[in-house]
Protein backbone atom coordinates (compact mmCIF):
# COMPACT_ATOMS: atom_id res chain seq x y z
CA UNK A 1 0.00 0.00 0.00
CA UNK A 2 2.88 2.33 0.76
CA UNK A 3 4.20 1.48 -2.66
CA UNK A 4 0.89 2.47 -4.19
CA UNK A 5 0.98 5.70 -2.25
CA UNK A 6 4.41 6.51 -3.57
CA UNK A 7 3.06 5.95 -7.07
CA UNK A 8 0.46 8.61 -6.43
CA UNK A 9 -2.54 6.46 -5.63
CA UNK A 10 -5.31 8.49 -4.05
CA UNK A 11 -7.04 5.38 -2.90
CA UNK A 12 -3.98 4.37 -0.96
CA UNK A 13 -3.85 7.84 0.54
CA UNK A 14 -7.49 7.59 1.58
CA UNK A 15 -6.88 4.23 3.19
CA UNK A 16 -3.92 5.54 5.12
CA UNK A 17 -6.02 8.46 6.28
CA UNK A 18 -8.72 6.09 7.51
CA UNK A 19 -6.10 4.08 9.33
CA UNK A 20 -4.20 6.84 11.03
CA UNK A 21 -6.16 10.09 11.17
CA UNK A 22 -8.05 9.18 14.34
CA UNK A 23 -4.85 8.15 16.04
CA UNK A 24 -3.12 11.40 15.13
CA UNK A 25 -6.15 13.33 16.35
CA UNK A 26 -6.44 11.46 19.65
CA UNK A 27 -2.73 11.60 20.36
CA UNK A 28 -2.39 15.31 19.69
CA UNK A 29 -5.54 16.06 21.63
CA UNK A 30 -3.96 14.54 24.73
CA UNK A 31 -1.34 17.29 24.61
CA UNK A 32 -3.21 20.16 23.03
CA UNK A 33 -6.67 19.91 24.63
CA UNK A 34 -8.22 22.14 21.97
CA UNK A 35 -10.14 20.48 19.15
CA UNK A 36 -9.66 23.48 16.91
CA UNK A 37 -5.88 23.30 17.19
CA UNK A 38 -5.82 19.52 16.83
CA UNK A 39 -7.79 19.65 13.60
CA UNK A 40 -5.25 22.03 12.18
CA UNK A 41 -2.45 19.62 12.99
CA UNK A 42 -4.23 16.61 11.49
CA UNK A 43 -4.87 18.52 8.29
CA UNK A 44 -1.30 19.72 8.17
CA UNK A 45 0.16 16.26 8.73
CA UNK A 46 -1.72 14.58 5.93
CA UNK A 47 -1.19 17.38 3.46
CA UNK A 48 2.52 17.09 4.16
CA UNK A 49 2.28 13.32 3.83
CA UNK A 50 0.92 13.63 0.34
CA UNK A 51 3.45 16.24 -0.60
CA UNK A 52 6.30 14.06 0.66
CA UNK A 53 4.99 10.67 -0.39
CA UNK A 54 8.17 9.91 -2.26
CA UNK A 55 10.31 10.04 0.85
CA UNK A 56 8.54 7.18 2.61
CA UNK A 57 10.84 4.21 2.77
CA UNK A 58 8.65 1.35 3.82
CA UNK A 59 5.49 0.24 5.62
CA UNK A 60 7.13 0.32 9.04
CA UNK A 61 8.32 3.83 8.90
CA UNK A 62 4.94 5.26 7.97
CA UNK A 63 3.82 5.61 11.56
CA UNK A 64 7.10 7.22 12.54
CA UNK A 65 6.89 9.55 9.57
CA UNK A 66 3.48 10.77 10.63
CA UNK A 67 4.90 11.73 14.00
CA UNK A 68 7.77 13.61 12.45
CA UNK A 69 5.34 15.64 10.39
CA UNK A 70 3.22 16.41 13.42
CA UNK A 71 5.87 17.18 15.96
CA UNK A 72 6.73 20.73 15.00
CA UNK A 73 3.28 22.17 15.45
CA UNK A 74 2.47 19.72 18.22
CA UNK A 75 5.36 20.68 20.47
CA UNK A 76 4.94 24.40 19.92
CA UNK A 77 1.24 24.28 20.71
CA UNK A 78 1.87 22.04 23.72
CA UNK A 79 4.33 24.51 25.19
CA UNK A 80 1.98 27.39 24.55
CA UNK A 81 -0.94 25.58 26.14
CA UNK A 82 1.01 24.94 29.37
CA UNK A 83 1.75 28.63 29.61
CA UNK A 84 -1.75 29.89 28.88
CA UNK A 85 -3.46 31.52 31.86
CA UNK A 86 -6.81 30.43 30.42
CA UNK A 87 -5.63 26.83 30.62
CA UNK A 88 -4.69 27.35 34.23
CA UNK A 89 -8.25 28.57 34.85
CA UNK A 90 -9.54 25.50 33.04
CA UNK A 91 -7.53 23.22 35.31
CA UNK A 92 -8.97 25.05 38.30
CA UNK A 93 -12.45 24.44 36.90
CA UNK A 94 -11.75 20.72 36.55
CA UNK A 95 -10.60 20.55 40.15
CA UNK A 96 -13.72 22.30 41.39
CA UNK A 97 -16.20 20.41 39.29
CA UNK A 98 -14.99 17.05 40.48
CA UNK A 99 -16.68 17.93 43.75
CA UNK A 100 -19.88 19.20 42.25
CA UNK A 101 -23.07 17.22 41.95
CA UNK A 102 -23.31 17.86 38.21
CA UNK A 103 -23.03 14.75 36.09
CA UNK A 104 -19.46 14.14 35.14
CA UNK A 105 -20.37 13.45 31.53
CA UNK A 106 -20.90 17.18 31.20
CA UNK A 107 -17.24 18.09 31.66
CA UNK A 108 -16.74 21.03 29.40
CA UNK A 109 -14.14 21.07 26.66
CA UNK A 110 -11.35 23.58 26.61
CA UNK A 111 -12.50 25.28 23.40
CA UNK A 112 -15.97 25.83 24.80
CA UNK A 113 -14.53 26.96 28.12
CA UNK A 114 -12.40 29.63 26.46
CA UNK A 115 -15.31 30.81 24.39
CA UNK A 116 -17.58 31.10 27.41
CA UNK A 117 -14.89 32.94 29.36
CA UNK A 118 -14.47 35.40 26.48
CA UNK A 119 -18.19 35.90 26.33
CA UNK A 120 -18.46 36.42 30.07
CA UNK A 121 -15.60 38.93 29.97
CA UNK A 122 -17.61 41.07 27.58
CA UNK A 123 -20.05 41.69 30.40
CA UNK A 124 -17.43 43.57 32.34
CA UNK A 125 -16.90 47.29 31.99
CA UNK A 126 -13.69 48.37 30.26
CA UNK A 127 -12.01 49.20 33.55
CA UNK A 128 -13.04 45.91 35.08
CA UNK A 129 -11.81 44.01 32.09
CA UNK A 130 -8.44 45.73 32.21
CA UNK A 131 -8.09 45.13 35.91
CA UNK A 132 -9.16 41.52 35.62
CA UNK A 133 -6.86 40.90 32.70
CA UNK A 134 -3.88 42.56 34.37
CA UNK A 135 -4.44 40.81 37.66
CA UNK A 136 -5.44 37.31 36.62
CA UNK A 137 -4.04 36.86 33.16
CA UNK A 138 -0.86 38.92 33.39
CA UNK A 139 -0.44 38.09 37.06
CA UNK A 140 0.38 41.60 38.24
CA UNK A 141 -0.01 42.44 41.91
CA UNK A 142 -2.71 44.78 43.16
CA UNK A 143 -0.17 47.51 43.61
CA UNK A 144 1.26 47.07 40.12
CA UNK A 145 -2.21 47.23 38.63
CA UNK A 146 -3.04 50.32 40.66
CA UNK A 147 0.09 52.04 39.41
CA UNK A 148 -0.51 51.00 35.84
CA UNK A 149 -4.01 52.40 35.66
CA UNK A 150 -3.56 55.33 38.03
CA UNK A 151 -6.08 54.00 40.55
CA UNK A 152 -5.73 53.48 44.23
CA UNK A 153 -5.18 49.97 45.50
CA UNK A 154 -8.53 49.68 47.27
CA UNK A 155 -10.35 50.56 44.07
CA UNK A 156 -8.47 47.81 42.29
CA UNK A 157 -9.44 45.32 44.98
CA UNK A 158 -13.09 46.38 44.82
CA UNK A 159 -13.31 46.33 41.06
CA UNK A 160 -11.63 42.95 40.91
CA UNK A 161 -14.03 41.52 43.44
CA UNK A 162 -16.95 42.93 41.47
CA UNK A 163 -15.58 41.53 38.22
CA UNK A 164 -15.23 38.06 39.69
CA UNK A 165 -18.80 38.24 40.90
CA UNK A 166 -20.06 39.27 37.46
CA UNK A 167 -18.00 36.62 35.69
CA UNK A 168 -19.18 33.96 38.08
CA UNK A 169 -22.79 34.94 37.43
CA UNK A 170 -22.29 34.95 33.67
CA UNK A 171 -20.50 31.62 33.65
CA UNK A 172 -23.20 30.12 35.86
CA UNK A 173 -25.71 31.01 33.19
CA UNK A 174 -23.74 29.08 30.65
CA UNK A 175 -23.50 26.18 33.04
CA UNK A 176 -19.86 26.54 33.88
CA UNK A 177 -19.14 26.71 37.57
CA UNK A 178 -15.72 28.10 38.13
CA UNK A 179 -13.71 29.24 41.04
CA UNK A 180 -11.36 31.90 39.82
CA UNK A 181 -8.54 32.11 42.31
CA UNK A 182 -8.91 35.22 44.32
CA UNK A 183 -5.24 35.73 44.94
CA UNK A 184 -3.76 38.48 42.91
Amino acid sequence: MVRQLKNGSRTAFNTIYDMYAARVYAFCFQYIKSRQDVEEIVEDVFIKLWQNKNTIRNENSLQALLFIMAKGLLIDTYRARLNEPEYEEYVGYFNESSFSVQDTSKKIEYDDFCRELQRAMKKLSDTQRHIFSACKLQQLSNKEVADKYALNEQTVKNQLSLSLKILREELKKSWIWIVILLNC
Partner: protein
Amino acid sequence: MIMLNILEEKYIQNKLTAEELKQLRHEVQQLSDESISTRMQARWMADDIDTSDVPVSRLDQIKKRIDASSFSSNSYSWLRRTAQIAAAIIIPVLIITSFYLYRENKNLGTNEMIVSTNIGERANITLPDGTHVTLNAESKLKYAPQTFNKSERLIHFEGEAYFDVKKNHDIPFLIRTTDVQIKVVGTKFNLSARDKNPVAELVLEEGKVLFTSLSSKECRAISPNQKVIFDKKTGTITITTINAQSISSWRKGDLVFHNAQFADIIHTIESNYGVSIDIASHSDIQKDLFSGTVPSNNISEAMEIISKAYHLTPTIVDKKVTLSECN
Protein backbone atom coordinates in the same frame (compact mmCIF):
# COMPACT_ATOMS: atom_id res chain seq x y z
CA MET B 1 12.46 12.28 35.33
CA ILE B 2 10.00 10.22 37.30
CA MET B 3 8.33 13.40 38.52
CA LEU B 4 7.95 14.57 34.96
CA ASN B 5 6.38 11.29 33.90
CA ILE B 6 3.83 11.47 36.66
CA LEU B 7 2.97 15.08 35.94
CA GLU B 8 2.71 14.43 32.24
CA GLU B 9 0.45 11.46 32.79
CA LYS B 10 -1.80 13.54 35.05
CA TYR B 11 -1.85 16.32 32.47
CA ILE B 12 -2.94 13.93 29.78
CA GLN B 13 -5.68 12.54 32.03
CA ASN B 14 -6.81 16.06 33.02
CA LYS B 15 -6.14 15.21 36.64
CA LEU B 16 -3.64 17.97 37.37
CA THR B 17 -4.04 20.41 40.17
CA ALA B 18 -3.15 24.05 39.59
CA GLU B 19 0.05 23.59 41.56
CA GLU B 20 1.05 20.57 39.51
CA LEU B 21 0.38 22.50 36.32
CA LYS B 22 2.87 25.11 37.42
CA GLN B 23 5.41 22.38 38.12
CA LEU B 24 4.86 20.77 34.75
CA ARG B 25 5.19 24.10 33.06
CA HIS B 26 8.50 24.66 34.79
CA GLU B 27 9.80 21.20 33.90
CA VAL B 28 8.84 21.43 30.24
CA GLN B 29 10.37 24.84 29.94
CA GLN B 30 13.74 23.29 30.85
CA LEU B 31 13.47 20.66 28.15
CA SER B 32 14.66 21.07 24.59
CA ASP B 33 12.36 20.34 21.66
CA GLU B 34 14.41 17.22 20.97
CA SER B 35 13.87 15.72 24.41
CA ILE B 36 10.17 16.49 24.29
CA SER B 37 10.04 14.96 20.84
CA THR B 38 11.76 11.76 21.98
CA ARG B 39 9.38 11.33 24.88
CA MET B 40 6.34 11.98 22.69
CA GLN B 41 7.48 9.66 19.95
CA ALA B 42 7.89 6.82 22.42
CA ARG B 43 4.28 7.26 23.45
CA TRP B 44 3.12 7.63 19.87
CA MET B 45 4.70 4.39 18.72
CA ALA B 46 3.20 2.40 21.62
CA ASP B 47 -0.11 0.73 20.89
CA ASP B 48 -2.47 2.08 23.45
CA ILE B 49 -4.07 5.28 22.18
CA ASP B 50 -7.80 5.56 22.78
CA THR B 51 -9.53 6.91 19.68
CA SER B 52 -13.10 6.43 20.86
CA ASP B 53 -13.62 10.13 21.56
CA VAL B 54 -12.60 11.28 18.11
CA PRO B 55 -15.57 12.75 16.19
CA VAL B 56 -15.80 10.95 12.88
CA SER B 57 -17.66 13.82 11.25
CA ARG B 58 -14.80 16.17 12.00
CA LEU B 59 -12.31 13.72 10.49
CA ASP B 60 -14.42 13.70 7.34
CA GLN B 61 -14.46 17.48 7.26
CA ILE B 62 -10.71 17.60 7.64
CA LYS B 63 -10.30 15.04 4.86
CA LYS B 64 -12.35 17.23 2.56
CA ARG B 65 -10.08 20.16 3.21
CA ILE B 66 -7.01 18.01 2.65
CA ASP B 67 -8.40 16.74 -0.63
CA ALA B 68 -9.26 20.25 -1.71
CA SER B 69 -5.76 21.57 -1.25
CA SER B 70 -3.88 18.46 -2.38
CA PHE B 71 -5.85 17.27 -5.35
CA SER B 72 -6.86 20.13 -7.56
CA SER B 73 -5.86 19.46 -11.16
CA ASN B 74 -3.48 21.94 -12.74
CA SER B 75 -5.58 22.67 -15.76
CA TYR B 76 -8.08 24.46 -13.59
CA SER B 77 -5.73 26.08 -11.14
CA TRP B 78 -6.20 29.47 -12.76
CA LEU B 79 -9.89 29.12 -12.08
CA ARG B 80 -9.18 28.24 -8.48
CA ARG B 81 -6.96 31.27 -8.12
CA THR B 82 -9.61 33.54 -9.58
CA ALA B 83 -12.16 32.01 -7.25
CA GLN B 84 -9.85 32.65 -4.33
CA ILE B 85 -9.49 36.30 -5.27
CA ALA B 86 -13.21 36.65 -5.77
CA ALA B 87 -13.79 35.01 -2.41
CA ALA B 88 -11.33 37.38 -0.82
CA ILE B 89 -13.48 40.26 -1.98
CA ILE B 90 -16.89 38.76 -1.41
CA ILE B 91 -16.23 37.38 2.03
CA PRO B 92 -15.52 40.74 3.68
CA VAL B 93 -18.67 42.09 2.07
CA LEU B 94 -20.65 39.17 3.43
CA ILE B 95 -19.14 39.65 6.85
CA ILE B 96 -20.12 43.31 6.92
CA THR B 97 -23.63 42.42 5.81
CA SER B 98 -23.98 39.78 8.50
CA PHE B 99 -22.66 42.29 10.99
CA TYR B 100 -25.55 44.62 10.19
CA LEU B 101 -27.99 41.76 10.30
CA TYR B 102 -26.76 40.63 13.69
CA ARG B 103 -27.05 44.15 15.01
CA GLU B 104 -30.73 43.42 15.36
CA ASN B 105 -29.74 41.19 18.26
CA LYS B 106 -28.55 42.83 21.43
CA ASN B 107 -25.33 40.86 21.57
CA LEU B 108 -22.82 42.23 19.08
CA GLY B 109 -19.98 40.04 17.93
CA THR B 110 -20.94 36.92 19.83
CA ASN B 111 -22.31 33.84 18.18
CA GLU B 112 -25.70 34.09 19.71
CA MET B 113 -29.22 34.49 18.42
CA ILE B 114 -31.63 36.37 20.62
CA VAL B 115 -35.34 36.72 20.10
CA SER B 116 -37.23 38.89 22.51
CA THR B 117 -40.65 40.44 22.82
CA ASN B 118 -41.73 43.61 24.53
CA ILE B 119 -44.91 44.31 26.40
CA GLY B 120 -47.89 43.51 24.28
CA GLU B 121 -45.84 41.73 21.62
CA ARG B 122 -45.85 38.15 20.55
CA ALA B 123 -43.41 36.33 18.31
CA ASN B 124 -43.29 33.08 16.42
CA ILE B 125 -39.94 31.57 15.68
CA THR B 126 -38.61 28.37 14.20
CA LEU B 127 -35.32 27.09 15.54
CA PRO B 128 -32.73 25.41 13.29
CA ASP B 129 -34.01 21.99 14.22
CA GLY B 130 -37.59 22.75 13.24
CA THR B 131 -38.89 23.45 16.72
CA HIS B 132 -41.63 26.10 16.80
CA VAL B 133 -41.71 28.54 19.67
CA THR B 134 -44.48 31.07 20.25
CA LEU B 135 -43.21 33.75 22.59
CA ASN B 136 -45.70 35.61 24.74
CA ALA B 137 -45.18 39.21 25.84
CA GLU B 138 -41.98 40.25 27.64
CA SER B 139 -40.08 37.11 26.89
CA LYS B 140 -36.60 36.35 25.71
CA LEU B 141 -34.99 33.36 24.07
CA LYS B 142 -31.26 32.87 23.38
CA TYR B 143 -29.30 30.19 21.60
CA ALA B 144 -26.00 29.69 19.79
CA PRO B 145 -26.71 28.74 16.16
CA GLN B 146 -23.26 27.25 15.72
CA THR B 147 -23.61 24.66 18.42
CA PHE B 148 -27.36 24.37 18.56
CA ASN B 149 -28.17 21.19 16.73
CA LYS B 150 -24.90 19.38 17.36
CA SER B 151 -24.73 17.36 20.56
CA GLU B 152 -27.65 19.06 22.22
CA ARG B 153 -30.24 21.73 21.54
CA LEU B 154 -29.75 24.29 24.27
CA ILE B 155 -31.63 27.52 24.66
CA HIS B 156 -31.71 30.09 27.45
CA PHE B 157 -35.12 31.43 28.18
CA GLU B 158 -36.98 33.92 30.36
CA GLY B 159 -40.68 34.71 30.17
CA GLU B 160 -43.57 32.72 28.83
CA ALA B 161 -43.77 30.71 25.64
CA TYR B 162 -45.37 27.74 24.00
CA PHE B 163 -42.94 25.15 22.71
CA ASP B 164 -43.58 22.63 19.98
CA VAL B 165 -40.33 20.72 20.05
CA LYS B 166 -39.29 18.64 17.08
CA LYS B 167 -38.72 15.05 18.06
CA ASN B 168 -35.09 13.98 18.09
CA HIS B 169 -34.08 11.19 20.40
CA ASP B 170 -30.38 11.63 19.74
CA ILE B 171 -30.17 15.31 20.46
CA PRO B 172 -32.08 16.36 23.58
CA PHE B 173 -33.69 19.79 23.73
CA LEU B 174 -32.69 21.78 26.81
CA ILE B 175 -34.28 24.94 28.09
CA ARG B 176 -32.39 26.73 30.78
CA THR B 177 -34.01 29.49 32.77
CA THR B 178 -32.61 31.31 35.76
CA ASP B 179 -33.86 28.68 38.19
CA VAL B 180 -34.86 25.54 36.36
CA GLN B 181 -33.86 23.37 33.47
CA ILE B 182 -36.24 21.50 31.24
CA LYS B 183 -35.15 18.59 29.10
CA VAL B 184 -37.37 17.20 26.36
CA VAL B 185 -37.16 14.87 23.43
CA GLY B 186 -40.15 15.93 21.37
CA THR B 187 -43.12 17.59 23.02
CA LYS B 188 -45.63 20.43 23.19
CA PHE B 189 -45.82 22.51 26.31
CA ASN B 190 -46.30 25.94 27.76
CA LEU B 191 -43.59 27.37 29.96
CA SER B 192 -43.87 30.43 32.14
CA ALA B 193 -40.54 31.34 33.74
CA ARG B 194 -40.48 35.03 34.39
CA ASP B 195 -37.68 36.30 36.62
CA LYS B 196 -40.02 38.66 38.47
CA ASN B 197 -42.55 35.92 39.31
CA PRO B 198 -42.01 33.92 42.47
CA VAL B 199 -42.94 30.73 40.64
CA ALA B 200 -42.17 29.12 37.32
CA GLU B 201 -44.84 27.00 35.65
CA LEU B 202 -44.86 24.42 32.94
CA VAL B 203 -47.94 22.81 31.46
CA LEU B 204 -47.36 19.74 29.30
CA GLU B 205 -49.69 19.05 26.42
CA GLU B 206 -47.99 16.19 24.64
CA GLY B 207 -44.84 14.13 25.03
CA LYS B 208 -42.46 13.90 27.97
CA VAL B 209 -40.47 16.45 29.90
CA LEU B 210 -37.73 16.26 32.53
CA PHE B 211 -37.98 19.20 34.87
CA THR B 212 -34.95 20.05 37.02
CA SER B 213 -34.50 22.60 39.77
CA LEU B 214 -31.09 24.15 39.33
CA SER B 215 -30.77 24.90 43.02
CA SER B 216 -31.80 21.60 44.60
CA LYS B 217 -30.94 19.36 41.62
CA GLU B 218 -34.31 17.68 42.10
CA CYS B 219 -35.47 16.19 38.82
CA ARG B 220 -39.03 15.11 38.00
CA ALA B 221 -40.53 13.51 34.93
CA ILE B 222 -43.72 15.16 33.66
CA SER B 223 -46.54 13.51 31.70
CA PRO B 224 -49.16 15.12 29.43
CA ASN B 225 -51.91 17.18 31.06
CA GLN B 226 -49.79 17.78 34.08
CA LYS B 227 -48.78 21.15 35.41
CA VAL B 228 -45.56 21.76 37.27
CA ILE B 229 -45.26 24.66 39.67
CA PHE B 230 -41.78 25.50 40.82
CA ASP B 231 -41.56 27.69 43.91
CA LYS B 232 -38.36 29.71 43.60
CA LYS B 233 -38.20 30.54 47.27
CA THR B 234 -38.50 27.05 48.67
CA GLY B 235 -37.17 25.24 45.62
CA THR B 236 -40.06 22.80 45.70
CA ILE B 237 -41.63 21.21 42.66
CA THR B 238 -45.39 20.55 42.73
CA ILE B 239 -47.20 18.55 40.08
CA THR B 240 -50.96 18.76 39.48
CA THR B 241 -53.28 17.41 36.81
CA ILE B 242 -54.89 19.92 34.53
CA ASN B 243 -56.41 20.50 31.13
CA ALA B 244 -53.39 21.51 29.10
CA GLN B 245 -55.21 22.96 26.12
CA SER B 246 -56.76 25.85 28.02
CA ILE B 247 -53.50 27.09 29.51
CA SER B 248 -51.93 27.74 26.15
CA SER B 249 -54.98 29.37 24.72
CA TRP B 250 -53.28 32.74 24.87
CA ARG B 251 -51.75 31.65 21.59
CA LYS B 252 -55.12 31.62 19.94
CA GLY B 253 -55.98 35.10 21.13
CA ASP B 254 -57.73 34.48 24.41
CA LEU B 255 -56.61 34.87 27.97
CA VAL B 256 -58.07 32.03 29.97
CA PHE B 257 -58.19 32.16 33.73
CA HIS B 258 -58.86 29.25 36.06
CA ASN B 259 -59.37 30.29 39.68
CA ALA B 260 -57.01 33.14 39.14
CA GLN B 261 -56.16 35.75 41.71
CA PHE B 262 -57.16 39.30 40.94
CA ALA B 263 -53.58 40.51 41.05
CA ASP B 264 -52.48 37.84 38.55
CA ILE B 265 -55.29 38.78 36.18
CA ILE B 266 -54.34 42.43 36.31
CA HIS B 267 -50.71 41.61 35.70
CA THR B 268 -51.49 39.32 32.76
CA ILE B 269 -53.69 41.96 31.14
CA GLU B 270 -51.10 44.66 31.70
CA SER B 271 -48.42 42.47 30.16
CA ASN B 272 -50.50 41.38 27.20
CA TYR B 273 -51.87 44.79 26.26
CA GLY B 274 -48.95 46.94 27.32
CA VAL B 275 -51.09 49.09 29.59
CA SER B 276 -50.90 50.04 33.23
CA ILE B 277 -53.87 49.42 35.45
CA ASP B 278 -54.68 51.50 38.51
CA ILE B 279 -57.07 50.25 41.09
CA ALA B 280 -58.97 52.96 42.92
CA SER B 281 -60.85 50.75 45.29
CA HIS B 282 -60.43 49.86 48.91
CA SER B 283 -62.75 46.93 49.22
CA ASP B 284 -61.92 43.30 49.74
CA ILE B 285 -63.63 42.11 46.60
CA GLN B 286 -60.30 41.61 44.97
CA LYS B 287 -59.80 38.53 47.12
CA ASP B 288 -62.24 36.59 44.93
CA LEU B 289 -60.90 34.14 42.40
CA PHE B 290 -61.92 34.49 38.78
CA SER B 291 -62.52 31.83 36.15
CA GLY B 292 -63.28 32.81 32.61
CA THR B 293 -62.00 33.80 29.20
CA VAL B 294 -61.03 37.26 28.16
CA PRO B 295 -59.98 38.39 24.67
CA SER B 296 -56.33 39.25 24.22
CA ASN B 297 -56.87 41.67 21.39
CA ASN B 298 -59.73 43.83 22.62
CA ILE B 299 -58.84 45.81 25.72
CA SER B 300 -62.24 47.35 26.31
CA GLU B 301 -64.00 44.04 26.13
CA ALA B 302 -61.40 42.43 28.33
CA MET B 303 -61.73 45.18 30.94
CA GLU B 304 -65.53 45.02 30.74
CA ILE B 305 -65.52 41.36 31.65
CA ILE B 306 -63.08 41.70 34.50
CA SER B 307 -64.69 44.83 35.87
CA LYS B 308 -68.12 43.24 35.89
CA ALA B 309 -66.83 40.25 37.77
CA TYR B 310 -65.30 42.44 40.45
CA HIS B 311 -67.97 45.13 40.58
CA LEU B 312 -65.67 47.81 39.28
CA THR B 313 -65.89 50.35 36.51
CA PRO B 314 -63.12 50.67 33.97
CA THR B 315 -61.92 53.90 32.47
CA ILE B 316 -59.50 53.58 29.60
CA VAL B 317 -57.37 56.53 28.52
CA ASP B 318 -54.59 55.62 26.04
CA LYS B 319 -52.32 53.17 27.82
CA LYS B 320 -53.77 53.77 31.24
CA VAL B 321 -56.70 51.94 32.76
CA THR B 322 -58.34 52.97 35.99
CA LEU B 323 -60.66 50.69 37.86
CA SER B 324 -62.96 52.42 40.28
CA GLU B 325 -65.80 51.21 42.41
CA CYS B 326 -69.27 50.88 41.04
CA ASN B 327 -71.85 53.21 42.49
